[in-house]
């Protein structure tokens, strides 16, 4: 399986430690994080979301997705193959979320 850029989106509760928990899982699996943006929900500060571009195989992404969903605060994780190849374009997509 080849590694590729994958676009991962997480919705979660927004609290002090949630981002660390998410990063820990990716670090432990040695998944490279190319970009990461976290944001509070505009209408409810108790919720938040994280958007990332990770560089890994889809097999690893499947496993990591389930491990992330296991985190108590994480609601849902989805990922898709990043269709845009230009890094600047990718960032635009992330930050426009």
């Amino acid at each position: 399986m080849i590694k590729q850029d994958l676009f991962m989106h997480l919705s979660a509760d927004n609290n002090f430690s949630v981002l660390n928990r998410i990063i820990n899982i990716l670090n432990r699996r040695r998944v490279r994080i190319r970009t990461l943006a976290a944001q509070e929900h505009p209408d409810d500060f108790r919720k938040g979301s994280v958007s990332m571009v990770i560089h890994t195989t889809t097999e690893m992404a499947d496993k990591v997705k389930l491990q992330l969903e296991k985190l108590i605060e994480v609601d849902q994780v989805t990922y898709q193959v990043q269709p845009v190849s230009e890094p600047a374009e990718k960032e635009k997509i992330i930050y426009s979320l």
Partner: protein, 581 residues
Amino acid sequence: MKADQHTAEVCSGAEILLRSLVAEKVDVLFGYPGGAIMPVYDALYDYADRLNHILVRHEQGAIHAAQGYARASGRVGVALATSGPGATNLVTGLADALIDSTPVVCITGQVFAHLLGTDAFQEIDVVNTTIPVTKWNIQVTEAKDIAPAVAKAFYIARTGRPGPVLIDITKNAQNEKIEFSEYVPCTNIRTYRPKPELSLTQIKAAAELINQSNRPYILAGQGILLSGASDLLVAFSGKTGIPVACTLLGLSGFPVTHPNYAGFLGMHGNYAANININECDVLIAIGMRFDDRVTGNVNKFARQAKVIHIDIDKAEINKNIRADIAVHADAAEALTELMGLCETRNHRSWMESFARLNDVEQQRVSIHSFLREGELTMAEVIDELASQADPLTIITTDVGQHQMVTSRYYPYRTPRTLITSGGAGTMGFALPAAIGAKLGMPDRQVIAVIGDGGFQMTMQEMGVIMQYGIPVKVLVLNNSFLGMVRQWQQLFHDKRYSFTEMSNPDFVAIAGAYGIAAAKLERRENLKEAISALLNSSSSYFLEVRVGKEENVFPMIPAGAGVSDMLLEAPRTEYPESVNR
């Protein structure tokens, strides 16, 4: 559930914590005080009639005791520690509880909120330190958040795949006085779904596969015990005629005396149980996580078989071994449904293949442990223990050769009668775990089986046995070596015994100094009597048995090898490169 008083009352955060614990039906706490948790200890002074606080001798002892309590009783174990080093001393136990799915709640004191992040005395970032070793953790800085945090902690610890939770409470929150009226237990968390919905489609597919199978094989893990599914598994195996093997943590989930019991899985497990993984046509893994000590080399594991994996933890499915049919479910629920759909069968010739391989193990391995000449063997001691102990006896073990021998030769017949450190392999676990188990199940005989190395890691907890008069029995199998490491050095490192030999103190004198009746056994002819004295003592008892110094545990799957490559004895030739040393 109401708090002690139904009307609002002004309470300190510390008292709210204790009221919350009482509301959660906590009866025992294992802890150690210090500056940042002093308000809680002060409040505990008035709760001695409701909360039995056990003063351990090291915080690692507190959490292992809480684990032993939880695993023996099925209830949540609770440990208490101060900030900084008190909290970090819990880390090993948290990691152990996480990997072994043990429901514990740890409460740590923390410096005043205004000092957080200032490197204050005994300030350690406990939440970040313990994120990787807890199912969940939280820092509380205001008294009003204490009761909801406790409620959430207990709910998370005990539901789904159980695990450890830590609540870090700043000192100001413990001191702060607020109005408190009612403890509200947690029954739901928006983002946490501990009870998966059983997919009947998957269950039907699994049943179909099982009904078509000629050589089905169940691998039972701790999930059976955690979901209380032992009787169901016995009934299911009885109906379908399917042999059942147990992982280390699954032991006692299926009685070893059952005709369909296929053995103990893993690196030092039974020969038949391991070899037949590569002979079955359908592998049904229930409440187990395909740990590498069970699979060996995954590329040589059950390649011929269709795999049905039933687990409550979705992240375990397809993590190590790909499942053809994944059933994300509680083991008891899945077995109940399967029971109705699976046909009554018997697999006589398949079962006979286990019997044949068991004979091979008996002739090539076990026989050597029971020659009853020369030095005493660990197996002889455990066999004697087994012949005298009643089936309800709870055994805790430490980590090493004695652990594997106790798992191989002790006949577990009753659920939750083996408490051992599996996934983390934590030396020092057995003694405090036995203390916790005894407090959780006071009517049961509890015996800690420990090596001379592991005993010295937490032997200070003998002070707890002494102070509280806890009638725990301790059996140290002394080979004057870190036996398991020495075995690897012998087999894989050309017998270069690098720092594994131990000069030990006079253990009997140490036990005596703690006021514990103690004896040392060196001669085979006194074995029966010595074990009888251990079991029949109405108070705590310590027995040291001198066993062979260079005994090895076989069979063995060398690290990196496949389950079919299980060795019955030490090879005379070099190991191939594929063996990971």
